[in-house]
């Protein structure tokens, strides 16, 4: 087999980068007799801020020879004089490393080596850095402030709504169609179908979808039209059963509720799509509601729903799937409209209050964006800093 020297020679011959490296070496050797590779400079080692402890952060300024390097090797030691052992390796062009799994309260020293094949250049030693844990993540103050602002605004509008202030909400096209869809299904003597998306209760979109289901089921119960809900998640199924049951008893028809109409299919994405498609073709629902979070199966469902002549009302927060619902369905609740729909359908003043609060925040964002972009153009980063 080939020896190490030959290996290196062959590699140098092959890559342009290696050729450059040879030139760099030659140039450096010609000018100075010793030092070939420039080490990284300005090494700093410190306790990683805003963490749970056990880690230090090391930063440096890239070596002037950065483009020739394989990368940097970060070395750690308990004493400034060594011995140093490798803590980790990062790619060239990077100037930061986070060293984890350390002991809190202990001193660590660091050195960073610039590496090429067969050679390396060590930086000065930095430290000591002593890892520790923090009680508050200062890097997230802006998020806390935003939550407080948001909650404050929403709660204020809710309070106002409770006092009886009239709140205007614009009409949302897909919502006005709900009644029409239920009515038409009833006339045709066909059931309704409600597909609550591919995610579980762990996604807020699904909860919004279930709220919409509650309203749809209420209308359906009044018209005495069955609602079919195929589910891909057992928790969603059980919750949907309770919601629909409740809607039927609110409509005064608890006897008309059929638990079997709300069923589990499978967790498999396309298995679920296959099952839903089959159900559509056989039960021929007059209206199909596609509400929730969807992935690629969105268009499979929507095109099949269209082929059986059902009115389709879609709604999702999945940006990637919106184009397909918009093209294939009669009505589509776009992103935030879906959340708005779940509040709108209840018509409770409290719910409308939160919508009003959202709008105020949106207005603030529009203002911040407008002013911020102008400021950025003039080189001022005050507003940008708020969103870092």
């Amino acid at each position: 087999m080939t020896g190490d020297g030959e290996t290196r020679k062959r590699r140098v011959d092959q890559g342009l980068r290696r050729v450059l490296l040879v030139f760099a070496w030659l140039a450096l050797l010609a000018s100075t007799s010793s030092a070939a590779l420039a080490p990284p400079e300005n090494i700093k080692a410190f306790d990683t801020p805003n963490d749970a402890g056990g880690s230090n952060t090391i930063t440096w300024k890239a070596s002037p020879d950065d483009s020739l390097l394989l990368g940097y090797s970060v070395k750690r030691s308990a004493k400034p004089e060594g011995p140093f052992e490798e803590a980790g390796v990062v790619l060239k062009g990077q100037e930061e490393y986070r060293d984890g799994e350390l002991k809190d309260g202990q001193k660590y020293f660091y050195r960073v080596d610039a590496r090429i094949i067969g050679d390396s250049a060590s930086s000065a030693v930095a430290g000591p850095a002593v890892p520790s844990a923090q009680w508050f993540n200062l890097g997230r103050v802006n998020i806390l402030a935003f939550i407080m602002l948001f909650a404050g605004v929403v709660l204020w509008y809710i309070a106002r709504a409770k006092k009886g202030a009239k709140l205007f909400i614009r009409r949302i096209a897909g919502l006005d169609a709900v009644e029409e869809a239920v009515g038409r299904s009833t006339e045709m003597g066909r059931p309704l179908m409600f597909i609550p998306g591919l995610l579980s209760i762990d996604d807020v979109t699904t909860l919004a979808a279930l709220t919409i289901l509650g309203r749809v089921a209420r209308k359906a119960a009044e018209y005495d039209t069955p609602v079919l809900v195929p589910c891909t998640d057992p928790l969603v199924m059980t919750t949907a059963q309770e919601i629909v049951k409740q809607s039927y008893s609110e409509a005064g028809r608890p006897d008309a509720y059929r638990e079997g109409n709300i069923s589990y299919l499978t967790y498999d994405q396309f298995g679920y799509a296959a099952g839903c498609d089959g159900m559509m073709l056989r039960e021929k629902p007059g209206a199909v509601f596609l509400q929730g979070y969807f992935y690629a199966e969105s268009l499979i469902l929507a095109e099949t729903g269209h082929s059986i002549g059902a009115i389709q009302i879609a709604g999702t927060t999945a940006v990637d799937q919106l184009p397909f619902f918009v093209t294939a369905c009669d009505y589509t609740l776009i992103g935030e409209e879906m959340y708005a729909a779940s509040s709108y359908l209840t018509r409770e003043p409290i719910m409308l209050g939160t919508l009003k609060g959202e709008d105020l925040i949106k207005l603030l964002i529009v203002l911040a964006l407008t002013v911020g972009v102008v400021l950025e153009t003039f080189g001022k980063h005050w507003i940008q800093a708020l969103f870092q």
Partner: protein, 273 residues
Amino acid sequence: MNWLAKLEKIDRRWIFLGVALVVAAPLLLGLKTSVDITPPVKNTYETIDRLPPGSVVMVSIDYDASTMPENQPMLLAVLRHAFQKNLKIILMGHWPLGLPVGTLGLDQVAREMHKTYGVDYVNLGFRPGTAAVMVNLGTEIRNVFPSDYKGVPLDSLEMVKNVHNYNDIRLLVGIEAGDTYEFWIIYVQARFGLKMAMGTTAVMAPTAYKYLQSGQLVGLIGGLKGAAEYESLVNHPGIGLSGMPAQSAGHLLIILFIILGNIGYFLSRRKKA
């Protein structure tokens, strides 16, 4: 005029038939289009081409059945090229469900080119632990894979008797559908200086491109188009090249149907008016 107005409401099954035909026809007829060879693919090809016969190339299967249409043609083309040049192949993977797919491709090409298992190629299989596996292979392959995918000890396989770590491997070709390739670069390229080329899905290619620019990858094969380019370089047209006319024809057919639909729509509207 009447039949033109019917264009507004073509039964969708005609559209389905059309799509099936324009995709199947180029495959059946073996239609070949010429593709422009882009530098990232050419570099991959030339890197492999310049390896001396007998060099060991490691191929990593980091995708599974879901992206097979895009990734498999790359694998086949690269394997064909490597076997043509009498290079030795070590196949392995980091995706639990990728192994059957990779094995399928390797066995197919090896049979075609009359290569012998254990002499010309070895299939190591899959071990969990991505980064840890990569780093350990740098010291001794046997630490991670004491035996091949069927449980045959490595030392009893002629080809890998003297292969111990990355020093004995000339090139890594990763066929990728996720972020595993970044692990390869971070843990193996940066640490051991192993040369790498990657074949990625079309969606990932723009992101992977930055590693090509920085010199951390010697080559990049992106999507079905990239596979088609490689196939034309090795002069063995496959699904990549016949996929190209299928892609174009599919797009064209959809555009055609949209235009027909609009013609029908305008005609029927004029009639009503």
